[in-house]
Amino acid sequence: MGYLPNIFFVIVLVVGIGYFARNVKKLIRNIKLGQKVDVSDNKPQRWKNMINIALGQGKMVRRPIAGILHIIVYLGFIIINIEVLEIIIDGVLGTHRIFSVLGLFYGVLIASFEILAVLVLVAVIVFWIRRNIIKLRRFWSLEMTSWPKQDANYILYFEMVLMCLFLVMNATDVMFQEAGSGNLISQHIAAWFSGLPESTLHIIERSAWWLHIIGILVFLNYLYFSKHLHILLAFPNTYYGKLAPKGQFNNLEAVTKEVKMMMDPNVDPFAAPENGEEEDMPAKFGASDVQDLSWVQLLSAYTCTECGRCTSECPANLTGKKLSPRKIMMDTRDRLEEVGKNIDANNGEFKDDGKQLLGDYISTEELWACTTCNACVEACPVSIDPLSIILEMRRYLVMEQSAAPIELNNMMTNIENNGAPWPYNQMDRLKWKDE
């Protein structure tokens, strides 16, 4: 009977981590639905970007208040996780505070956890106030209703509760308090519980301990269903993020082949394609659904944590247009999830559901409002490129559907006819010098 808690703990741990692993597999499968793209180049620069932007939070501090608060929460979570390691070992072996053999160092460690826990608590409360009382504009855009809004608050509540449980756990741990090492903050909380019999304290301590670890496992599994995946995906996303200058848009290779063929007088347009050549052509130009996007773009969609820095700097959004780069990422993710569920329900095969990203999620009005100014790309703290998705969808509209706005069709006809976006005679191109 004495081993019952240990067995129960192991079961909880295995179920918690197992379910998470299952969802991670699903996540990877969904991301792999995207088109292949070569991102094997320039590894040193990629590592550097990951270290600076994700690990070092380099872009977060561009907005100092949110940035510094975020760094506190980020550090808090990473460092306090050392405590989770102890909890797991204790839980499995039935020991109590196994790391306390470290002596003085243990005290220093726990004291720093306690300080961080309080700082995290304060930061999270400030986050909540910014969202719900101050109502910062970027948290109250059109796409931030219902689930996205609740999701953000749930995460904050989770973090508040976890930090409180950690402090209460320490405060009601009679042995730990008596040892008097590392209880920098919790000794003050312990005073609130003074007068309670030791057995009651023990029950509170055990409850806080169990709730803390179960809470962490629940939170781990909550990630997949929320915007909070960025705590994991920010790392690969900054690694695979764009390295070229922001103004450089990719050249479609399939188009290059066609154009070179058209320009080459030696090519026989009626010649039968060589073996394998047909398969090189993409099914379509541009993107109308998530499977047409690259896997890096799909990874980005899962990475987005809906902070809205992109949207708050978007010139179209700032002037009341429908376009919101954040919504582009959220729509891509939501559609990808829908496609993933479709595949799950149909034995691993996607069954046409009559829906797609274009039209059912993202409207043409949004796509045509973009000025391609890269403000959203510059603003993103985790190297997401919403502009690249907008461009792929414009490509589909123009090259597959000839569905550009009429003025743009005129502009393109002019370029075809006279090599300028306006209807002027090519032969007049140098007239300015004599005017």
Partner: protein, 264 residues
């Protein structure tokens, strides 16, 4: 214009059997748009003044395809790119300077993959070098000295290619009082023309982007709004008009300011 401009073409240079130091890529706006043509001429004046051995493609130049690409028409873009590259490579062009950040970005970043490898500079970078190497002198006493000027970063020069300082350094050599807008450099607001917006009506909203950007500029109470892009120039000029400030505030290209300071 009183003095005539010397504008040799690549074809003429080739006939004379010589290779000019640089090719000046004029761009469609610089060739046809009435306002942008003035910027083109101002830049040529500077080139003439500094005795730069340059040439233009003239009637052999065609749209870079930037605007088609950003509108989603990759076919048209690559058709333009490939035929331009053919011309440029036939003339063995190595160095290109352009006064249009859109041409700059496309030539520099999107042509190499299609076989066009050139050293491309924005005109503000090139003029800056002319001054630094002593090929162009700017009079210390000029009409612009002490004038309050704000600089609007073109997206395709700034964020797209990280060129923020060249135009600012130029303005500083004129001894002007350079005042920054709240949103500047990396966080500069677009003028509203990029991504093919120049050629279409904006989507429904509560304000035009160029008006919002002009408000940014007006906050600095400038005498002149300087920029380095023909499209930005149009948008900011329209914005100033919408705010009925056109009698007090001029919108000018950095090249025009330098050229004016030459004359004064």
């Amino acid at each position: 214009m009183s003095e005539t401009l010397k504008v040799p073409t690549m074809a003429e240079c080739m006939a004379e059997g010589r290779q000019p130091e640089i090719l000046f890529w004029v761009g469609s706006a610089g060739s046809y748009d009435d306002r942008a043509k003035k910027i083109t001429k101002a830049f040529v004046k500077i080139l003439n003044k500094a005795n730069v051995d340059f040439a233009v493609l003239g009637t052999e130049e065609s749209c870079t395809g930037d605007v088609a690409k950003r509108a989603g028409n990759e076919f048209l873009f690559q058709m333009q790119a490939v035929s331009n590259i053919e011309v440029l490579n036939a003339y063995e062009v190595k160095n290109i300077v352009t006064a249009c950040p859109h041409s700059y970005n496309t030539l520099k970043n999107e042509y190499p993959q299609l076989g066009g490898h050139y050293q491309v500079q924005h005109h503000t970078q090139f003029i800056n070098k002319l001054i630094k190497t002593g090929r162009l002198k700017v009079k210390a006493e000029n009409a612009l000295k002490g004038k309050r000027i704000t600089f609007h970063d073109p997206c395709y020069l700034g964020r797209a290619n990280n060129v923020y300082e060249a135009p600012r350094e130029l303005l500083k050599t004129l001894g002007v009082e350079l005042v920054e807008m709240k949103r500047n450099r990396q966080t500069a607001l677009c003028c509203g023309a990029g991504g093919a917006q120049m050629f279409k009506e904006p989507e429904k909203g509560d304000k035009d982007v160029n008006v919002l950007r002009t408000e940014d500029a007006l906050e600095t109470q400038p005498g002149i709004i300087a920029t380095g892009c023909p499209y930005c120039n149009t948008m900011m000029t329209d914005g100033v008009k919408a705010k009925e400030k056109e009698t007090e505030i001029a919108v000018l290209d950095v090249a025009e300011l330098i050229a004016d300071a030459q004359e004064a």
